[in-house]
Amino acid sequence: MKKLTRNQIFWPLVALIVLLIYNAFFAKNFFKISVVDGHLYGNLIDILKNFAPLALLSIGMTLVIATGGVDISVGSVVAISGAIACSIIDGRLGIFNHSLVSALVSALLSGLACGLWNGFLVAKVKIQPMVATLILLTAGRGIAQLITKGKIVTINSAPMMKEYYFIGAGYLLGLPFALYIVIAFLFLVLLLVKRTAFGLFLQSLGINSKSSMLSGINVDRIKLVVYTISGFLASIAGILISSNIKGADCNNAGLFIELDAILSVAIGGNSLNGGKFMVQASIVGALFVQCLTTTVYALGVPPEAISLLKAIVIIVLCLFQSDSFRQRVFKGFKRSVKGADAA
């Protein structure tokens, strides 16, 4: 039992299950799944579909945070990649017009470029991660607006609209196509982290960057790769989001999604100081965040109140993860030596 509760993924899973049990009692038809138009339909399926972008971002964010950094520019990368993809599909950029492949490739390349830029600033110029990615956070939406010339690009009448729409909102074998993308990338990243030296180096870098460097690990290159992965995954998230709404809205696409991604990582029990990490736990965290959102909608609470709930969740989860809090609250009466230390 102790081994089970020690497992990092245990508490996020418990939180998720508690939320689901709550829904079972208080939200009507939350677990009802029916078949509509040849695919599954219901709140749970909706959650799986809508959590895809956040899940992708939280995969990238987990790796970045594992190095002791943070990438707050992902929301802007989402906006840029969506703007590029939709502009090409709609035939506004002049080159490679209407082609789905070129739209996807350019969007992904933009994500890679953004990630490389962040990685370059962090790893080579040695700027603190938060400041380095602040640059792209500030500039990103501006750049996206310049790509779309300040308009909201809709692709309703574009020739490749159906194919593009399928990526973010289509269904394969009854399940959302976006879910397969998440699973594929989760698998790839897990492979990278668990089965290659890279994963090992990544963890050692997070725990102690200096000693890793002294033991001959190329710390800079790992950081560069990690930020590039984060940017790349963000561009996929951008494609999913823009495809789901059939258009690019530079102002609102992925707005504050970086906070949700960081939140997912934190809920997953990963230390924000870097070091040990678990990508699966972050995915559970993302699932929890999305589930919370859907719950709020299902309960008919005004959607604006969701940030209040998120705040409460953050506070509760963080406090329970904090050692000194646990010591104070649960061992406060014993006046143990440890408690005195914490004070």
Binding site: A139, L146, G150, L259, L272, A311
Partner: protein, 329 residues
Amino acid sequence: MKKGILSKNFQLFVTIVLFLVLFLAGSLRYRGFFSAQVFLNLFIDNAYLIIIAVGLTFVLISGGIDISVASVVAFVGMLSAYLLQNGWNPYVVMLLMLLIGSTGGFLMGYIIHYFKIQPFIATLAGQFLYRGACFIISTTSIIIDNPVYTTIANYQIKLAPKAYISISVVIALLVVIAGTIMARFSKFGRAVYAVGGNEQSANLMGLPVGRIKVLVYVLSGFCAALGGIVFSFYTLSGYGLQNIGLEMDAIASSVIGGTLLTGGVGSVVGSMFGVLIQGIIQTIIIFQGNLSSWWTKVAVASLLCLFIVLQRIISANRDKFKRKMLNNA
């Protein structure tokens, strides 16, 4: 030159020079730009941001971060509009707002220090909490038509026949002056620099690290609430979606003004000029007329990038210099 680059005030100097250059460039290029009122408008339009940036600067110098400030501004606007509509005394409302801001800051600082929760996450919770609380009050915007508020909002202090400032500007300047005195000449200010420079050594020196760390968040919360009051003078309304992303503007201002996010370095005056530089870029883009306002963001980000790289060069040089001195000794 070498000594100049190493000096503590070099970055502040660069920031001020940049501000003057931008103002000069604008004056040469656009008709009507070179006037006292255009200059003063920079203060009038950004008074609230200056106030917020001052509070945030202390947090950043201490090595923390506070991303809740934008939501505090929105919440203060919302709650004071609501209370004023219900006939509360405006002065009581203002005092209450400052109290709420400070208390919120205290709570965040407390859990950051005593429960060892990352500043980013703790203030993120604060941000969500304030923002959500806005919408519990109302989802639509509420106007403020209290006579005291409108009088303060419309009052013009004439400096010259064609130049005036608002009361908000006076408040902002007072905050900057008080902040500078506090940072430079008070025990508290020096302790903040010490904690930000190296928390462990500050602790060993016997400084009350915990109290200092909590106090900077109280200060930041107070300034954010004051900024919120000034902002509600500016807009005369409260709205829950107001000022989304403002915290990043404030952080960017501080960085442009020479604050290091790792802590230990920074100045209140620098942050003020950081705000003014962002303001002047906006003014230039408005005067240009045919540029999309998105260029503001891109320009600010480029400047941010430039300044950060500059900071890197300075600190790298300083390290080299230190090492050289050590070797010589």
